[in-house]
């Protein structure tokens, strides 16, 4: 019985951790050193895909260190958002490129 309970608990905990069924992919473009949209709303579990249309390499680097995605010229990169809150991010190579992700539960 305790075994069954703990496996149920495990299952519940696990279920809340897996990617929700409605997880979406949100695309954000970097072009001419501009990030658009500059402010994007996403849900926990969503994938953010940055599409670099420039001939320059960029990065999407969270100020708090949550992610640091390298984006070579004309390539894209992704991250899965894992916690709620407002995440400011920038490009390490061109810190004048700045944007915000609003992550809601």
């Amino acid at each position: 019985m305790p075994g069954r309970l703990s496996s149920t608990v495990t299952a519940v905990v696990f279920a809340t951790m897996v990617v929700p069924a409605h997880a979406a992919t949100i695309q954000i473009t970097m072009e001419n050193l501009e990030i658009s949209p500059a402010e994007a709303s996403v849900k926990i579990g969503d994938t953010v895909e940055w599409i670099n249309k420039d001939v320059f390499a960029h990065t999407a680097t969270a100020k708090g260190g949550d992610f640091d995605v390298g984006l070579p010229a004309k390539k894209s990169g992704t991250t899965v958002v894992k916690k709620a809150g407002i995440v400011e991010y920038y490009c390490r190579f061109h810190p004048n490129m700045k944007a915000t992700l609003k992550v809601v539960p």
Partner: protein, 173 residues
């Protein structure tokens, strides 16, 4: 302080120098030459730094400069070819090149942390000077829309580099 001021004055004098003074606007072939030269100068400075830098951050910054400025200049070459414009040498380009080769020689004598500091400080000052020239002279004077566009992208790249250089300089302290 004196050295700093005189460098700033020299930089201003340089970019409002003979070619751009007397109310004469630089022509598109001259602007293309100046912009390309400004990129080559930063690439050469960066290649020296890739070899000499001690700090890992300074070396990485220099590698970024080579990569970005080569990409900008590649676009610039493709554009002048498309527009059938032959970049035209001029006093501003010549003054920029002369000043840059003096700077290379000066930095060549430095080593280790002293080199890193001098290189990064010069990168901050150099990008500031070029940004100012782009904003106040080159972009307003350019007549071809595609050239103007490329210069505007160049300005955003250079402004990014200036901020990046400022961050690296702050880390070195």
């Amino acid at each position: 302080m004196f050295v700093r001021w005189s460098a700033a004055i020299a930089a201003v004098a340089l970019l409002s120098g003979p070619a751009l003074a007397q109310g004469t606007k630089p022509t598109d072939p001259q602007i293309a030459h100046i912009a390309y030269t400004a990129g080559v100068i930063d690439i050469n400075a960066a290649k020296q730094a890739v070899k000499k830098a001690r700090s890992k951050d300074v070396k990485a910054f220099a590698e970024d400069m080579v990569r970005d400025h080569e990409a900008v200049n590649k676009q610039a070459l493709a554009l002048v070819k498309k527009l059938k414009v032959t970049p035209e040498d001029n006093d501003t380009s010549r003054t920029l090149s002369k000043q840059a080769s003096d700077k290379l020689a000066e930095l060549d004598k430095l080593k280790g942390a002293a080199f890193d500091k001098a290189y990064v400080e010069n990168e901050v000052a150099y990008h500031k000077t070029v940004n100012n020239a782009l904003e106040t002279q080159l972009i307003p004077s350019s007549s071809n829309a595609e050239l103007k566009n490329l210069l505007q992208t160049g300005l955003k790249i250079f402004q990014g580099h200036q901020q990046h250089a400022e961050h690296v300089a702050a880390e070195l302290k």
